[in-house]
Point group: C2
Chain length 362, copies 2
């Protein structure tokens, strides 16, 4: 299906957790389905680290279908015949919203002059968009992975803005291991001489470093079982080992493909900024060190979903959020789904997730 | 303690699984304790990927103590008052044994002209060393991680050469996830322009790429719990986040330190060759696809040890080997130890491991 592609430049400066502000911040977003008369049927979808607003529209760079076509559309679990679905590219990203590749006031790209942002800053941008669209209260805010962090941040900091909060395969804080994998990716980007302290726009981009970063991240998105099931020790287009350094194994070939494919559609500096925002995310710390405090003011209904094979944000992280919501007296349901794909399960064919999503937002 | 540092240049060419051979192959090794008259008290220790022969001697580059000082020495679990301990740098490595940095027949470093080797090739080199030392049967062969692969390979291919086989935190084959992490490291090295297709000797080495590879590997050596326990989300030498790209978090600082420290002592091409050998390792495949076949001819006693927090080579991999040994009718004991450190537990303070090692080799 085709979404409506729109951009909005915020009239007000966007204040940031780091102390600065973004002026003339543009947000690029897609919408699907009609907003009803009393503006009560809007669902905000929040995208993941390397996601974008093309939820159910063809990606303008890759030509691939939207990343959640299976979930969003007419008659689908998030039914665009009933709901007005909005998804905006987060600030710091590179698909039309303001980010390191955008022109600063001097007309040159921000590059590393772009301020370090937080998940709450991203959500502040989304709330400004809702203000501009005159949507007071969302029917639901929905997100997986980093999208789930945004949904939690919206619920905690703007509790009146969403009636339902659906958080899939996510966490309320980045663990030491989560930070370690992201730091590895950032160091891979920065080790590429073409990165050039972030000033590569108009020249060659640090694609080699960014591809390595993507490979590292990709390993964390799949379970060990999924890798074994999908590739095992199978060789790629050959009958025997080459005794060389080609991609002998299918898993090597797959990772190289994931790495190089990613560089076509993503900006290396955006990768640095967004991973940094995720590493900084600690919802409890923002609220006096107690996660339950984050949800003290909420009347929203929550639903948390985890996957048993997700080792990036394992079920224990979702349970941690659920316990805090319980302590805050919030209405919350929780389900751990069994799926073999690891963290990426939220994007893949897991019929049980479809049912949970459909049931919760109705 | 000080070991005796020796080198041996093999008189015979060393045939390789890939089809070629290595001529004039030098092996650098350390010995500790006296060989007894009937040459029956020798223990061969096999080192891990980035290990070396300096088991219980000061490292000549870093000045640090040997990597298994806690296990090897007078009165220690591997008691050098009783046993003659031998540890040789594996072929392909860079601490004195033949490897990519060694001079080829034209006097220039092999670099990527070095043949791709296997774990069995490494062991073939070790067996040639035992031949030269006139050690017919080892009291024991002992190894952790890649050292355990060598111990298994020796037991499978030269079953008469060791009476006891101790395999710690290891596996009989590299999984898709294991290969994926190694491929990530290789791609990080190769993405560094200083790598220059392997021809960097005499110039600047690809330290940036190698540091990233080491960071990736290091994450896999520690458990999620160990990282959380050790670092959590603690900040490094600061009270608040910097809103920049410095190492704000202790875990970032630690990883950067591990990455850059590693490049002082290790050759990037050796890292490529040794990881490749590990990825190629599949002991069952070498023996008609059935792991039990690998152990058909053995009279040795085996002991397998795993750690419950090791997600690189989890307990299930050790159990897989134990079942094959059972099927082959071999004498085998197995223990899963509880230790919080992850894969690196075999190098760290785990008193239960000391007891297992001491008990098994007596």
């Amino acid at each position: 299906m085709a979404g409506a592609s729109r951009t909005l430049t915020l009239a007000q400066a966007l204040p940031l957790d780091g102390g600065g502000e973004l002026v003339d911040a543009t947000l690029a977003y897609e919408t699907y389905g009609e907003l009803n008369e009393d503006r009560s049927n809007a669902i905000l979808l929040c995208h993941a680290l390397t996601g974008d607003q093309y939820v159910a529209s063809e990606h303008p760079v890759t030509g691939k279908p939207g990343w959640w076509e299976r979930m969003v559309g007419a008659g689908k679990p998030i039914d665009t015949d009933r709901y007005h679905v909005i998804c905006a590219n987060v600030i710091g990203s590179c698909m039309g919203s303001i980010g390191p590749a955008s022109a600063a006031s001097d007309g040159k790209p921000y590059a590393m002059r772009f301020p370090v942002i937080t998940i709450r800053d991203m959500v502040r941008g989304l709330v400004a968009l809702l203000d501009a669209l005159e949507i007071e209260t969302l029917h639901a805010v929905v997100g997986g992975s980093m999208g789930g962090m945004q949904a939690l941040s919206l619920a905690a900091n703007w509790p009146e803005r969403a009636a339902r909060v659906l958080v899939i395969a996510s966490t309320s804080r980045h663990s030491a291991q989560n930070i370690a994998f992201h730091e590895l990716g950032r160091q891979a980007v920065m080790a590429d001489p073409r990165w050039n302290q972030g000033d590569y726009y108009g020249g060659e981009a640090p694609d080699s470093g960014l591809a390595v970063a993507r490979m590292a991240a990709h390993i964390t998105y799949l379970s060990e079982e999924a890798l074994t099931e999908k590739f095992g020790r199978n060789l790629q287009d050959r009958d025997a080992k080459s005794f060389g350094f080609d991609a002998d194994f299918q898993v090597e070939s797959y990772l190289r493909y994931q790495g190089t494919g990613f560089t076509q559609r993503f900006d290396a500096n955006s990768y640095l900024y967004i991973t940094r925002a995720m590493d900084y995310f600690d919802l409890a710390e923002e609220h006096g060190g107690k996660l339950a405090n984050a949800f003290a003011g909420t009347d929203a209904r929550f639903c948390l979903v985890s996957f048993d094979s997700d080792w990036l944000y394992p079920t224990s992280e979702s349970r941690h959020v659920v316990r805090a919501l319980n302590a805050a007296g919030a209405a919350v349901s929780f389900v751990e789904l069994s799926a073999p794909h690891g963290h990426d399960s939220f994007l893949l064919d897991v019929p049980a997730l479809d049912r949970v999503v459909k049931g919760f937002i109705e």
